[in-house]
């Protein structure tokens, strides 16, 4: 009997063991991840800052964006969107791989590690990826003079919270997938795309017809974007709405993670 095995310690830190293994796998892709995380913001900052932003400001000045330059107006949304994309990459693929492709989760679950710890570990490593992506994005915003250093640093935790809220739900959804084929199509075209377009990203949510606004209300991107605008530019969001945004995103994290942990445990025990 191996006396070096400390089960109580594994029960405390198992999720961290999983997260650190995930980070090791993620780090194998560091070149590609860095290229994406630097390239993607650059394209947006150039296209919107130099192209679309100029056009918008020639048309209506900054009257539609509470006096904020157009590129700055959309920056918090781009940042939150980057967190969402990062968290999605690091939850969907490892989860499908873990249950279906390589069945890594079954190997992990053959040790004292539990399904709940695997879910939590994957989630934590995805948050680390989001922090990395968002930090690079924020550095580029500073470099391009889109935001000033100061309270705007809050954009980082806010974006990560937005990504985390969405990621927790996605983690649960990915753990439920039996047939992979249609999942990516549906998710990409019918969830991610409308969320990106209708979450007050490119124009204030209130300028949309009321019947389209609910898309924004349930979108973690909108809640994170509004919080981010308030943190970076005193956008005029009421304290009540700040509380609503924070509660909404935190609830997504708690509910999504609870469901995901239960789903991981059940699926592994089949």
């Amino acid at each position: 009997m191996n006396t070096g095995i400390d089960v109580p310690q594994i029960q405390r830190f198992g999720a961290l063991y999983i997260a650190s293994a995930r980070l090791k796998s993620i780090s194998k892709w560091k070149g590609i991840i860095a290229a994406v995380d630097i390239g993607n913001p650059l394209f947006y900052l150039i296209a919107v800052g130099v192209g679309i932003g100029v056009l918008v400001e020639q048309g209506s000045g900054t009257s539609g964006t509470n006096g904020i330059k157009y590129i700055a107006f959309i920056a918090p949304a781009l940042l939150a969107n980057s967190a969402i994309a990062g968290v999605m990459d690091e939850t969907i693929f490892p989860t499908i791989e873990g249950f279906k492709w390589r069945k890594l989760f079954f190997a992990q679950n053959a040790t004292p590690i539990t399904g709940r710890q695997i879910a939590l570990g994957v989630y934590l490593s995805a948050l680390c990826r989001a922090i990395f992506s968002v930090s690079i994005y924020y550095a580029l915003l500073l470099a391009f003079n889109v935001v000033e250093f100061g309270p705007s640093i809050l954009l980082i935790p806010i974006a990560v919270l937005g990504g985390g809220g969405f990621g927790a739900i996605i983690l649960f959804a990915a753990a439920r997938i039996e047939k992979v084929d249609q999942f990516f199509n549906i998710l990409g075209r019918l969830v991610i795309m409308p969320m990106f377009l209708f979450s007050g990203t490119f124009f204030p949510l209130s300028s949309m017809p009321i019947y389209l606004q609910p898309i924004g209300w349930i979108s973690p991107l909108w809640h994170a974007t509004e919080l981010g605008r308030e943190a970076a530019f005193d956008y005029g969001v009421s304290n009540l709405m700040i509380a609503v945004h924070l509660t909404f995103l935190t609830s997504l994290v708690v509910i999504g993670l609870t469901l995901a942990m239960r789903q991981f445990e059940r699926r592994l025990a089949k």
Partner: protein, 308 residues
């Protein structure tokens, strides 16, 4: 006999309206090499997943190292090594990284794992591959690495589900040699297989499983003695004539099985039987005398061959 390490009574597992395991009983003693032999779909893997303290059971009792695996999953799993049917290694990581992170899942110290990795690389004959990405390994190497990974925590029991399925003959022999060494070191092995030669080589004792139930239990030799004759004469007359001559031939031996391509005649003396057949002016196109194997036991018990 000391208390068994594994004790299973009335184990049943039902998926929807399909009964995968239908009330089986067995014990595995310390240091024993125990086999579950059966065709695909017999319920072997389901049984193994329950023994591995990961899958839940529908009814019955299971005790592993004196604990119910369903109630004490992590505690039981801390002392098991599991080698699943499909290698579930992390293909993006190297050979030694795979062993390292797996050791960490058992909460083992870095120093312990580092020393253990050296020992396991040697055991798995993968010393030169330590820094190779797992997806670039051959099938046999992946298999050996999966087994090495299962040993990183020095388990009391090693569970192997179809350890050599899908490997070429040479890779299988290397693997058998490695498993035999473990057996010599006193590691308790539980393995499933649908290869009778594997069961004969590696198992001290085995159960024959079919359709979720145990058909027979014993040592490989004991089972052969109990359920088959000493020798088997295999004769072929060509696919059409096999059926014609079958009634006449069946009079000449203890028991006969008619397979699509050949007839198996069970007897104590195969050469003598072949002489009788020739004397009766029946000339098989090919004939072969061999010793009875577990394949014959399975055929006798279920009326089917192991690999269909």
């Amino acid at each position: 006999m000391s208390k068994p390490l594994i004790s299973v009574r009335g184990l049943t597992k039902v998926f929807g309206d399909f009964t995968a395991v239908a009330g089986i009983d067995f014990d595995v003693a310390k240091g024993e090499s125990f086999g579950i032999l059966g065709p695909n779909g017999a319920g072997k893997s389901t049984t193994m997943r329950i023994l591995a303290a990961t899958s839940t059971r529908t009814s019955g009792t299971v005790e592993i190292l004196d604990r119910d695996p369903e109630k004490f999953g992590p505690l039981v799993r801390a002392h098991l090594g599991v080698v699943p049917q499909q290698d579930n290694l992390d293909g993006e990581l190297t050979v030694s990284e795979n062993l390292f992170i797996y050791g960490r899942y058992f909460g083992l110290s870095k120093q312990f794992i580092k020393a253990k990795i050296e020992e396991l690389l040697e055991f798995a004959q993968l010393e030169e591959k330590r820094n190779v990405k797992v997806e670039d390994l051959s099938g046999g190497m992946k298999r050996r690495l999966t087994i090495a990974r299962g040993l990183v925590s020095e388990p009391d029991i090693l569970l192997l589900d179809e350890p050599t399925t899908g490997l070429d003959p040479q890779a299988r022999h290397i693997l058998w040699d490695r498993l035999f060494r473990l057996k010599e070191q006193g590691v308790t092995l539980v393995l499933t297989t649908h290869f009778m030669d594997e069961a004969e080589q590696l198992c001290d004792r085995l159960v024959v499983m079919d359709k979720g139930a145990i058909m027979a239990e014993g040592t490989p030799q004991g089972l052969i003695k109990e359920f088959s004759s000493k020798e088997v004469l295999e004769v072929r007359f060509g696919s059409d004539r096999n059926k014609e001559v079958a009634p006449q031939l069946s009079q000449m031996c203890e028991r006969m099985e008619t397979l699509p391509d050949r007839l198996l005649m069970y007897t104590e003396d195969g050469e003598k039987l072949l002489e009788q057949i020739t004397a009766a002016k029946m000339h098989p196109t090919t004939s072969l005398v061999r010793r009875s194997s577990l394949e014959d036991v399975f055929l006798r018990l279920t009326g089917r061959t192991l690999i269909e």
